[in-house]
Assembly symmetry: D3
Homo-oligomer: 137 residues x 6
Amino acid sequence: MIYITRRERFCAAHKLSHPEWDATKNLEVFGPCSNENWHGHNFVLYVTVKGQVNPETGFVVNLKDLSPLIKEKVINKLDHKNINLDVEFMKGKMASTEVLAIEIWKQLSAPIKAIGVELHCIKIQETENNFVEYFGE
Amino acid sequence: MIYITRRERFCAAHKLSHPEWDATKNLEVFGPCSNENWHGHNFVLYVTVKGQVNPETGFVVNLKDLSPLIKEKVINKLDHKNINLDVEFMKGKMASTEVLAIEIWKQLSAPIKAIGVELHCIKIQETENNFVEYFGE
Amino acid sequence: MIYITRRERFCAAHKLSHPEWDATKNLEVFGPCSNENWHGHNFVLYVTVKGQVNPETGFVVNLKDLSPLIKEKVINKLDHKNINLDVEFMKGKMASTEVLAIEIWKQLSAPIKAIGVELHCIKIQETENNFVEYFGE
Amino acid sequence: MIYITRRERFCAAHKLSHPEWDATKNLEVFGPCSNENWHGHNFVLYVTVKGQVNPETGFVVNLKDLSPLIKEKVINKLDHKNINLDVEFMKGKMASTEVLAIEIWKQLSAPIKAIGVELHCIKIQETENNFVEYFGE
Amino acid sequence: MIYITRRERFCAAHKLSHPEWDATKNLEVFGPCSNENWHGHNFVLYVTVKGQVNPETGFVVNLKDLSPLIKEKVINKLDHKNINLDVEFMKGKMASTEVLAIEIWKQLSAPIKAIGVELHCIKIQETENNFVEYFGE
Amino acid sequence: MIYITRRERFCAAHKLSHPEWDATKNLEVFGPCSNENWHGHNFVLYVTVKGQVNPETGFVVNLKDLSPLIKEKVINKLDHKNINLDVEFMKGKMASTEVLAIEIWKQLSAPIKAIGVELHCIKIQETENNFVEYFGE
């Protein structure tokens, strides 16, 4: 079993606020992340898949297959977008990095299985000081 | 003459669009940066000042003086904000990294002179693949 | 289960030397790290916690709670200090990165449980070429 | 149990091509990596070992023992070399990062056991956008 | 006057050897860089241009114009190539980073002038420990 | 004229305190950097030299000449040392990064001239948030 990780990036806007809370409570819980006019990040996404090495190619998976799939299912939907407003799979959900990691897992798990490997980890780095990891359960 | 550089960071949303152009022209010129619902970045700001070394302290400038000044005049106004909507000194201006560098220079030049050194360069990194530098003229 | 990691930094002095060994043996075992006048590092600390996502906030843990706790229990005690001389929880212990990781685990494990999540990993990077990880057992 | 990781680097040339396939098929599968005149990378190798902390030294393993061993068994054979042509332990194998990780594991597993710790992971970063990890099984 | 820098990357093989020197002399002068079977690097290219800010766009130059031009004139000719064998503009020249920087300047200077800005600096990073800069004279 | 930069690193302890000031004044001016028991950093040194390209080698300077010279004159005297106590060329001087840059310039300027190039810049990075540059005047 070998693990291979592909790094991709997307620049997006978001805000953290609970729709049923007022501005004061949102500010108390989410601090400046609740700014009503949005803020944004250079998010870095690490997709780790695992599988056996194909003896003919030496590859677990051809990155020529994996990278376009990540772009199609995830990056194109998030890059230069507003996570709260523009992203179908985040509609009605909190735009936290944790929730984003779980929802990206749901977008990628089946398509990655379809190209012959298994999704192992979704890691998202939001700033140089924090990142989240999700392993599917 | 010694040059000293302080790095600070701010996470902000912005968009690039000319108010007198329609969506088609804005998309043509600015590409995905014109997304009406905003996108954002982890901007990195490098402020370089120059001066003589003070023989008593060994410092050109005490970072205990320089860093709070940058925070007060620039970072607090930009971090977790929308550059187009929330930032007084960017009102009515294009929210490009170039213009932002010039306007940050204007915010910092006099206050930095007031603490005894001279502003040399404002550098802003927008993504890992591009940055701008402005030397005041 | 989601894992979230907070990065913090501290600049500290230390030396590696066994109190019952002479300078020759300490030099033989620890090399230049045994320099009697100390040396130092920009240590980077990564604290990883795990837990369920709170559906109201989208957070595993609010970094507004986690970060000050790490600062209070660990960073304020280590930053701009001498690990051998100034740090209560390292008294009488070897000031290696391994031992430091274990002792930081002991400082953080209970307080992190008290804010509702579980400490998963303490990682300390000493130089760009080496780091240690401790998972509590 | 503590995990310690040593980072080493090597600059090498390689190409990906199946000896029984023609140029068209190799290009189709491996893309520009099949260029017959080679290309190359600054590979970064992370060797993670695990063990108990020695109470006398505070070390899991003395990096003065681990680092020369990695240099002798791996780095000296790969640095400024052609992976396909110059490296004994890669002869007749696909020069992919996955296969390289597995073969480096085979070179290091026993010697690392001989200095009292256990090899845990071989990680190789090929570019800033992809890396592989192998845990020995 | 504002300076803007675009970062691009290419993975290439090369070797350093003087065609009229024997292997012993080449090894003496160039060390392991003279390995006859090549070695390679992840080269990082920084192209800095300078100009006035266009008041309509806020840009010195639209990166949508600059980036494809760098790709067409330089990156596509170097990426996944052998600098000594595959690159027309390096034919008959030493494949050092210094010479490469000068030759890339020659490829880009006129095309960059044609899109309305002036080439200021070509910087090439060969490894994390060395880089060269060329300002055109 | 080509500029080439070599990066080297040293891990050292230091403190900032004026010998004629009491602890209160030193704390007021230097903050935690005045801790009497020292602190330390992973300092990163960038040495930039300039010169003409030698047409036979393609080099401005052979790094096989430059790097050992930097190690002998600077790194070996600073690495795993106490800058205030152990370093001859810093005796009686403030151990600030600014002063260190100027003194390293003095150590390297003549020896670098002796190998045929001119020292252009000494840059020292003390933490990820600050660095100084000195150009010799």
